[in-house]
Amino acid sequence: MAIRIFDPTADAPETGNRPAPRLARLDGLRIGLFTNSKVNADLLLRETAALFAERHGCTVVAKEGKPNASHIAGPQVLERLAANVDFMITAVGD
């Protein structure tokens, strides 16, 4: 006998968020670093930024982070970064 069952999932709400536009150039841009405070995160971010500095003359102008990797970043932190840099480097890992 046919039955009907409810779907147990939920859809993510439409937020209107879209990826930022691709940068037209990298030369001389300002970099922001954002760490999740895991061990060696700072090192990874610094070394990655150093490659941008070497190849494109970029400069690290801001460093932010969150003290607990498992909590979301505070909106004020991200807004502050976005206002002062051209692109941000962050990483996900353990």
């Binding site: 006998m1 046919a2 039955i3 009907r4 069952i5 409810f6 779907d7 147990p8 999932t9 939920a10 859809d11 993510a12 709400p13 937020t15 061990v39 607990n68 990797a69 498992s70 909590h71 979301i72 353990d94």
Partner: protein
């Protein structure tokens, strides 16, 4: 980010067996077959909610996905819950939703924690929960399905899918279901919920991000301090030592020994906190902290930050010198246990 919920969707299947297979095909299970959430079963469960089905109980911070009362009921049916278990599921979900519990982080982390539900109060007997023999094991419908409902909500509503959003390195069996009841009748101390500030006549559920289960065996001593030193030794193990919280589920036999010389609940908590420590040098030599981490080698590093970080309750069979230490998720204090009353609002 605003949170809106769409109307519940229905799927038509040929029969119950096809529905079970369909749920597997959609990835809606924990690996075990689920009970098809038909309209009749969900409606019967919603009758125990005490609130509108469209009301949002929990929201996922990273995605904004919302778990309504209706969605919780659908997953509770799938878990095998009887309708009368639903108030416990809802209260546990409310506890999970507290930002200080951090359910996203604790579910996504390599740490692989599971929400451990501890029910304290009259409802435990009313719905037939197990607080005695084999309390953490299989065989009791209420214990098994209430914990499972929470796991299915995490999987289906919040999409904490293993290997995608859930990056647990090992996980542990508690991720199927981890739900127990306190045995007040065999406890020498006040009920856990009373110690946590809930009126005795009100039932409550505490949710704790549990990373694993350590059996603590001591069959010989009748000396409380000797016994508690066994507990402290497990709590200070290198693999578990952190600033996080702890759950101690003490068997009735061990609890009677601890109380035999007048140890109160706070006395036990203070003794365990005071004795569950290692010198910082141990952590440095084991590579658990960087070699240049601040602090002297002989500085004590305690498990937790205070005796109040130790949740102590009595449960388990009357026979056997076996108790349990449940360690917390995270290398720090990523999640703090949360307690909610069941079926009532104390702050309203």
């Amino acid at each position: 980010m605003t949170t809106t919920t769409a109307a519940p969707r229905l799927h038509e299947l040929a029969d119950e067996g096809s529905a079970i297979d369909f749920c597997y095909e959609q990835g809606w299970t924990d690996g075990l077959p689920v009970v098809p959430p038909t309209e009749a079963r969900v409606e019967a469960t919603l009758a125990w909610a005490g609130r509108p089905p469209e009301e949002v109980v929990a929201t996922h911070p990273p995605t904004g996905r919302a778990c309504t009362v209706h969605a919780a009921a659908v997953n509770a049916v799938m878990a095998g819950c009887l309708p009368e278990y639903f108030p416990v599921v809802v209260a546990a979900l409310e506890a999970l939703n507290d930002p200080d519990y951090a359910f996203h982080g604790s579910s996504a982390s390599t740490g692989g924690s599971a929400p451990l539900l501890i029910v304290s109060g009259p409802i435990a007997d009313e719905i037939g929960m197990n607080s005695g023999v084999n309390v953490f094991g299989s065989g009791n419908r209420a214990n098994a399905t209430i914990g499972r409902a929470i796991r299915l909500i995490l999987l289906n509503v919040f999409r904490m899918t293993p290997a995608i959003a859930d990056r647990s390195t090992t996980g542990w069996p508690g991720k199927y279901s981890a739900c127990i009841a306190e045995d007040e009748s065999r406890s020498p101390w006040e009920p856990l919920r009373v110690a946590l500030g809930i009126p005795e006549e009100v039932s409550a559920v505490t949710v704790f991000a549990a990373s694993g289960f350590h059996n603590i065996e001591n069959h010989y001593t009748n000396d409380p301090e000797a016994l508690l030193s066994t507990f402290a030794d497990s709590m200070r193990s290198l693999g578990a030592l952190s600033a996080g919280q702890s759950v101690i589920v003490m068997s009735p036999e061990h609890a009677q020994i601890a109380a035999s010389r007048g140890f109160t609940r706070p006395d036990v908590q203070e003794y365990l906190y005071a004795h569950a420590w290692r010198p910082r040098g141990d952590l440095r030599r084991a590579g658990k902290i960087p070699a240049d981490a601040p602090g002297a080698d002989d500085e004590p590093v305690h498990r937790g930050l205070s005796p109040n970080d130790i949740l102590l309750l009595v449960a388990g069979g009357e026979a056997g010198g076996h108790s349990a230490f449940i360690s917390s998720w995270s290398r720090g204090r990523g999640s703090l246990f949360q307690t909610k009353p069941i079926g009532v609002c104390l702050d309203c």
